[in-house]
Structures are given as structure tokens and as C-alpha cells.
């Protein structure tokens, strides 16, 4: 039911972990629904230099978090904010219909981390 790309990102997720002195941290979802994504970003000169994640969730939730970190790293804040859940799904070569909400969560996690960064830096 999952594409090879999803299985690859589930088996070998990129950028797992946390950033101790992160510039922005976003946490979305809730345990009741079975998905929580936490994303950490490090920003220099308006560019996302480093990103890490931790996720409680199904295979698709872990894979969408992983691919989302790959999509944002090296991007400017403005570029990162333009990443949609659709882009996340496409980057994974598709997701089963009932798992599309995981990609929405990934988009929201990026936005939440950036919101936190902006709030801390009055931007």
C-alpha cells in the first residue's frame, strides 16, 4: 500500500532527532489521534540551515516528517512557507488516500516551527 519512497523514509528517516538551541520549534497533532510531529529548525540569514524532527505516528507520519525536513533544508523562510502538503505527497511518490492527513500535518509542522522562529525574533 505504500510506495517504495515512503518505505525508504520510514525505514531510514532523514534528520531524526532534536536541535538543542533551535531557533524555532513546532509541534502539531495530538496523541489522541495517533499523530504528533515535532520539528526543530536552525535559521541563519533567513535560510533554514538545519532541521530535525521527532514523530509519534504511523509509517506515513514518519515518512512525511522525514521528507518534509529534506524539502525545507536550504530554503529561505518564505520558500519554506510555500511548501504544501501536495508537494510532500508528490515527493513521496504518492500516499494512500487515508494517509493524506499525514502530509497536512507535515506542512503544519513546518509552519509551526517557522511561526515559533518568527515570534521569538519579532519577524
Amino acid at each position: 500500500m505504500y510506495s517504495d519512497k515512503v518505505m525508504d523514509h520510514f525505514t531510514n528517516p532523514r534528520n531524526v532527532g532534536d536541535i538543542k538551541d533551535a531557533d524555532g520549534v513546532g509541534e502539531v497533532g495530538n496523541a489522541k489521534c495517533g499523530d504528533i510531529m515535532k520539528m526543530y529548525i536552525k535559521v541563519e540569514d533567513n535560510i533554514i540551515k538545519d532541521v530535525k524532527f521527532k514523530t509519534f505516528g504511523c509509517g506515513a507520519a514518519i515518512a512525511t516528517s522525514s521528507i518534509a525536513t529534506e524539502l525545507v533544508v536550504g530554503k529561505t523562510i518564505e520558500e519554506a512557507l510555500k511548501i504544501t502538503n501536495k508537494a510532500v505527497v508528490e515527493a513521496l511518490d504518492g500516499l494512500p488516500h487515508e494517509k493524506v492527513h499525514c502530509s497536512v500535518l507535515a506542512e503544519e509542522a513546518i509552519k509551526a516551527a517557522i511561526d515559533d522562529y518568527r515570534a521569538k525574533n519579532n519577524k
Partner: protein, 391 residues
């Protein structure tokens, strides 16, 4: 990679002896049991032999066994058939909130058609309360339907006591014994069971065949109307190869019942003990003792069940989970919620069900692989980080 199967509660492989019994009935002995010539009579005889084997496994008379297209049909028939037959007498049905959907959804359907249904709650181990049951009985109660053993958490209900209460109140008692058959000693007479659902593919028989035990004298309407098969109670040309297989499967189950229970209980208890001793933040779901001999159901905190299943599959272990992601809905299993698990713990449940072909080395393999998987998934979990960080 060798695949290790731990989902016997979902289905079982057909026993080679069962398959041998079935094969001739596809080709050489293909007759319609309703036909008068030799081919037909042979098929008829095959069905009657199977009926005897199944009756013998549950302490019934062969005339009380009616073949169906599976366990779900048996459940549908029992409940709708009694509801239709007794609707002038009453419109109240008592069941539990941990039944299989083949019972629950039938009850919900009947509610739309004027019946009243009481869904008894269960305690933290998954047992109904006999006091609750007695309290809910009214003059209009026509049926009590309580499953023998739960498919997810393995809890075995006090069937004999329920049967006694039903008998005292002259109410029909149906039990869904799909999971119990071949794993528990059943005697429908001693237990005062009036109707009992069974399925072949959970006892090393083929899929698509089951049976309903209907105690002599019980008034029930047919579910499938048509020809005069199954003594005019269940129409349709009989699935002769399937029924032959079910009969053989029942015979094997009967001959090995004690041995099977002892063997599976030993493996089950080892698996439960080692997992709960060696992995932190786990919880056994279901009754510790009153449970199916092959059922292990454990929740792993901070982990989601589907991620656990995928990881296990990658090392060749086939299990199942009550997480929302595997149920096709947004909520985790109704059974796990009914025993009081919070959503987040229900999402992290793993069911490993053992069976005839499970070996001790398979158990050892799970015990070797599982901690690695739970460690990996927890290392990625923001929930675990909070616990470790003392937040």
C-alpha cells in the same frame, strides 16, 4: 527472509490433511447433494459426516449444526433470525460493547428497525458483569448475544453463567464462538447455549464456510431464502468441499484439543512474561488468565501500532494492531477503548496470535527483534522524549 506468522486470530493456513479431504469434492465427487443419483448421495454423505464431526467438537447433536458461508453469516442469521421470529414477543436484545462487528453492526441495523439493544460495558480485563446482565433483562428481552472469546484481547466470558441466567429467564442465548472453537473446551448443552456461531478458517479449515449451532426447539427464521437445503433453514447449494474441510478441521481440533491448549498457553505465557519483563512502558490487554491460549495483546506506550507492524513485517513477523491506522477509521479499536484504554495507548497496541504451527523458536525470534524495534520507534517519538526528559 523466513516469514513468521503471528496472526492466527485473523485466519489460519489450511491444514494439509484438511486440504486432502477437500480436493476430491472439486472434481470426481462433485455432485449436488440434493441430487438423487450416486454422485449426489455421496456429497450428501460427506456433508453429514462433517456435521457429525462439528457436533462432536461442541457436544451438540448433528441435527443442530447448520452450515453457512462463514462466521459473519452465522452471527447475522442468529440475531436477525431470532429478532424476526420473536418480534411479537419482544424487541429487546442484550449484547456487549466488545462484540465483533458482525454482531454489533447487526444490532445497530435492528435498532433502525424498531428493536432496542443494550450494550453491556466490560471491565478493564474485558469481562461483562453478570449483575449488569441480570439488571438489564426485561419482559421484552428476546435474545442475549455475548461472544465466547474476544478476537482482539482474547478475554473469555463466563459463558456457563450467562447460559444459566438466560435459561432462568427463558431467553435465547447466542454466542459468537469464532475465536473460541478449537481453542477452548465447549459443551453447548452444559453451558445452555441456544445458538453458536463458528467459522472454519480460524481452525485450519477453508475460508467461506462456517456454521450456526441451533439448539433443538429454537424458533428462528431463515436469513437466506430459496431451496430446501439445511432442512429448509439455509438455502443455497452446499459448499461441499468447504464443508468437508470444516469437518476434517473439527475432527483434528477435537483430537488435539487438550494438547493444543497446553502447548499454546505455554508459548503465550512465555511471550507475555518476557515482553512485559524486558520492555518498559508496556501493558497487557485482556484478562491475564481467562484468555484464549494463543492470544497476546500488548500496548507499547509512545509508539503507534501501524509503525510497529511495518517494522515487524520488515523482519518477517506478521502481527496485527488495534490502532486507527489499521482499522480504516480515525478511532482505535472499540474493544481497546471499551476496556478503558486512553486513545494514545490503544493506538500502540500489538496483537500476536499463536497457533498450531507456531514454534518456540518463533517466540524467541520475536523476543529478540521486538526490543530493537520499540527502541528505534521510541527514539523517534516526541512523547518518549518527554517521559525521558521528565517533563
Amino acid at each position: 527472509m523466513e516469514r513468521r506468522y503471528f496472526d492466527y486470530s485473523a485466519t489460519t493456513p489450511v491444514d494439509p490433511e484438511v486440504l486432502n479431504e477437500m480436493i476430491p469434492h472439486f472434481t470426481n465427487e462433485f455432485g449436488n447433494p440434493s441430487s438423487i443419483y450416486t454422485y449426489g448421495r455421496e456429497s450428501k454423505k460427506t456433508i453429514e459426516n462433517a456435521r457429525e464431526s462439528i457436533a462432536s467438537l461442541i457436544g451438540a447433536d448433528p441435527k443442530e449444526i447448520f452450515f453457512t458461508g462463514g462466521g459473519s453469516e452465522a452471527d447475522n442469521w442468529a440475531i436477525k433470525g431470532i429478532a424476526m421470529s420473536l418480534r411479537d414477543k419482544g424487541n429487546h436484545i442484550i449484547t456487549s460493547n466488545i462484540e465483533h462487528h458482525a454482531v454489533l453492526h447487526v444490532c445497530e441495523y435492528l435498532e433502525k428497525h424498531g428493536f432496542k439493544v443494550t450494550y453491556l460495558p466490560v471491565d478493564k480485563d474485558g469481562l461483562i458483569s453478570l449483575e449488569d446482565l441480570k439488571k438489564e433483562i426485561t419482559d421484552s428481552t428476546i435474545l442475549i448475544s455475548i461472544m465466547y472469546a474476544n478476537n482482539e484481547i482474547g478475554t473469555i466470558q463466563p459463558i456457563e453463567e450467562i447460559g444459566k441466567i438466560a435459561k432462568e429467564h427463558k431467553i435465547y442465548f447466542h454466542t459468537d464462538a469464532v475465536q473460541a472453537l478449537g481453542n477452548v473446551k465447549i459443551n453447548v448443552k452444559n453451558m445452555n447455549i441456544d445458538l453458536m456461531s463458528m467459522s472454519a478458517h480460524k481452525v485450519y479449515g477453508p475460508k467461506g464456510v462456517g456454521a450456526l449451532y441451533i439448539s433443538k426447539g429454537v424458533k428462528i427464521e431463515p436469513l437466506i431464502h430459496g431451496g430446501a437445503q439445511e432442512r429448509k433453514k439455509r438455502a443455497g447449494t452446499e459448499n461441499v468441499p468447504g464443508i468437508a474441510g470444516f469437518g476434517k478441521a473439527a475432527e483434528i481440533a477435537n483430537n488435539n484439543l487438550d494438547k493444543n491448549i497446553e502447548y499454546l498457553t505455554k508459548l503465550r505465557d512465555k511471550l507475555i512474561k518476557e515482553i512485559t519483563n524486558n520492555i518498559d512502558y508496556v501493558k497487557l490487554n485482556g484478562h491475564p488468565i481467562k484468555r484464549l491460549p494463543g492470544n497476546v495483546n500488548i500496548s507499547f506506550q509512545f509508539i503507534e501500532g501501524e509503525a510497529l507492524l511495518l517494522s515487524l513485517d520488515m523482519v518477517g513477523i506478521c502481527g496485527s494492531s488495534g490502532s486507527a491506522c489499521t482499522s480504516g477509521s480515525l478511532d482505535p479499536s472499540h474493544v481497546l477503548l471499551a476496556i478503558g484504554l486512553p486513545h494514545e495507548i490503544a493506538h500502540g497496541s500489538l496483537r500476536l496470535s499463536l497457533g498450531r504451527f507456531t514454534k518456540e523458536e518463533d517466540i524467541d525470534y520475536v523476543l529478540q527483534e521486538l526490543p530493537k524495534i520499540t527502541n528505534r520507534l521510541r527514539s523517534m517519538s516526541p512523547l518518549y522524549e518527554k517521559v525521558k526528559g521528565g517533563e
